[in-house]
Amino acid sequence: MLYREALNKAIDESMAADESVVILGEDVGRYGGSYRVSEGLFSKYGEKRVIDTPIAELSIVGNAIGMAIAGLRPIAEIMTANFSLLAMDQIINHAAKFRYMSGGKMTIPLTIRMPGGVSRQLAAQHSENYETLYSSIPGLIVLTASNATYAYYGLKEAVFLNDPVVFLEHELLYPMDMEFKEIKNFDPFKAEIVKEGKDLTIITYLKMRYDVLEAEKELKKAGIDAEIIDLNSLRPLDIETIANSIKKTKKCVIVEEDHKTGGMGAEIAAQIQEHCFYDLDVPVLRIAGEDVPIPYNRKLELLSIPTPDKIVKKILEWKAKNGI
């Protein structure tokens, strides 16, 4: 199943199951969504439930919050995560805080979907995900969908949660054909152990999952049996799954596409040393994007983010440097 089809299926089934579910955003209606995620929904549910909006992110989220307060379950789409900066006041000051400010009288059952990440030469202003930023805001739930299975189950869960969810997608994943697994008792906040291993734990999320899987083949040749964890949920963070894995492997590598300084990896590494310092046999390694605005030039773009060969090289260097 294509990644975008999984998202489409989740939205379609949610709208069919509950009349209060509506979607709004730029080109989500007649055009079918800029990544074809909402394809076919306009003709099926009509303009009252599939709403094309002006190019005004602040108003998209603002309107969606109003709908949520009034009893609907809106799914707002921001065309690319960088544009969500324009809606930041609504997301942080309003969506994340209303439940607290009203003493629990108001809930905001809102989902904000955002494609993002380093795609192909979209340059500095269209290549980010801001997952670290959103994950640092109390009151928000931040989910990342790296695969069709989680995209489907995760988005359905997000729509029916009573708190605002920032649902992060990656632009390179939409056309990917992926295996779809049926899951019973799905927990959106649980990290997935993608591959079991005994020598070291690699934590990752979103598109980096695939770079890590590619790197793992090379690591295997070097005799390293890596365990791979896909976080799925960044806030809340499933530290239990992480800690259990490190108890076994004693070594941890975090692979993220985002900039290294103050990135998700920094938070995860901090939580690891809080939870399982005495299980660590070696300092946690962060493999992350460079601290530069993402370059437009393809070669420079690839140099600025982790790639499978860089992941392998950094892990081998780290092992040798630490004498393990």
Binding site: K250, L316, K321, G323, I324
Partner: protein, 399 residues
């Protein structure tokens, strides 16, 4: 121009080859016949030659990797050869290395290269031990500082260093070896005294723990061969042959000679099937089951019909210990297996590889040997096989 060195097909049954050792590195100048890599097939280990003159540009497979046949394993830049010959004459080693350094950037990750680079650089970390190492050391009463002073463990110490010390502390060297061999968990033992090998052996016996041996490539090849063999439509012929043992000559040599002569009269026994064709060879090439120190091999004696008994006898002696090449293991059309020297009366054998059949020979009893021929019915019918067996019976009386 770029020339690709590919994983060659070294035998009919080979579909993958394992890289044993690279004999060149990126930047090395090679001649057409320079060996570049050692490859292990399902039958033997061979050196592969460059095939062209030039400079090694890329190495595409790492040591230990199993590569499908016909896949490129290295790239040789043939353009660089002229310049290199001149340069490499006075100083063979240093010169060719300077230029290709830049090209390294393009190569895919070469784990060995990276490791060599890093291991030779000084360690950048300091401190006494990792948190996990300290925790384990405390648990098992191991004094990290003291051991580091005596230089028994490195600084900083890691879990594996402490693990080694725990084993050293609680197990005798012989017991420690058993722990490794059987992949035992030391926590299954009561660590309050020095544990001797007898105690470990007892534990192994009581819990019936298997010792794990990785199959050798030869063993895997034998398994593949016999599994393929069992799929063939075969029939059996049981016979007795009369034979006069010659002084100083192995019985097997006499059998080979007689079989080779009988094969000359029966073309189908010199034939193999390939797709929808029958290939009939002029030579009597016979595969002989040889029990060597490194495993069971079906070694092939070529043109046995032209060889004297003494030559065959000599071949049988040599083949037991010589380093086998692909030539020694391919090209046969009929096989034999002899268990007579082990006192076996009668048995049946499985046909080797593409052979038309195989003769299984038992022990000699008053000048008589019981033999069972397994015949591939796709190549020989009953009548044809009967004629061949009768020819063989005649020949064996004359050799």
């Amino acid at each position: 121009m770029e020339y690709k060195v590919i994983m060659p097909i070294l035998s009919d049954t080979m579909d993958k080859g394992k890289i044993v050792k690279w004999l060149v590195k990126v930047g090395d100048y090679v001649k057409k016949d320079s060996p570049v890599v050692e490859v292990e097939s399902d039958k033997a280990t061979m050196q592969i030659e460059a095939g062209v003159e030039g400079v090694v540009k890329k190495i595409l497979a790492s040591v230990g990797e199993e590569v499908p046949v016909k896949t490129p394993i290295a790239i040789i830049d043939t353009e660089q050869k002229a310049a290199k010959i001149e340069e490499s004459k006075p100083q063979t080693q240093t010169q060719p290395q300077t230029q290709p350094k830049e090209e390294k950037k393009e190569t895919v990750v070469n784990i060995d290269e990276i490791l060599n680079e890093i291991i030779s650089s000084p360690k950048a970390v300091s401190g006494s031990a990792s948190p996990a190492a300290k925790k384990k050391a405390a648990e098992y009463g191991i004094n990290i500082e003291e051991l580091q002073k005596k230089k028994e463990i490195p600084k900083p110490a890691h879990l594996k260093d402490i693990d080694e010390m725990v084993i050293k502390k609680y197990f005798t060297p012989k017991a420690a070896r058993l722990i490794k061999e059987y992949s035992l968990d030391i926590n299954d033992f009561k660590l309050d005294h020095k544990i001797r090998s007898e105690e470990v052996l007892n534990y192994i016996k009581q819990n019936n723990i298997p010792k794990i041996t990785k199959l050798t490539p030869n063993k895997i090849a034998v398994i593949k061969n016999v599994q393929n063999s069992i799929k063939k439509p075969t029939f059996l012929i049981f016979e007795k042959i009369n034979i006069t043992k010659k002084e100083g000559i192995k019985l097997t040599a006499q059998i080979i000679k007689a079989l080779a002569l009988a094969m000359q009269k029966n073309p189908l026994t010199r034939s193999v099937l390939k797709d929808d064709k029958l290939l009939t060879y002029p030579a009597s090439n016979i595969s002989v089951a040889v029990n060597r120190d490194d495993g069971l091999y079906m070694c092939v004696i070529k043109n046995a019909e032209d060889k004297t008994l003494e030559e065959i006898n000599e071949w049988l002696k040599e083949i037991k210990t010589k380093r086998l090449t692909i030539e020694d293991l391919s090209g046969s059309t009929f096989g034999i297996s002899n268990l007579g020297m082990f006192g076996i009366e009668r048995f049946t054998a499985l046909i080797n590889d593409k052979d038309a059949g195989i003769g299984a020979f038992g022990k000699m009893n008053e000048g008589e040997i019981k033999v069972t021929f397994t015949i591939d019915h796709r190549i020989l019918n009953g009548v044809e096989a009967a004629k061949f067996v009768n020819d063989f019976k005649k020949e064996i009386q004359n050799v």
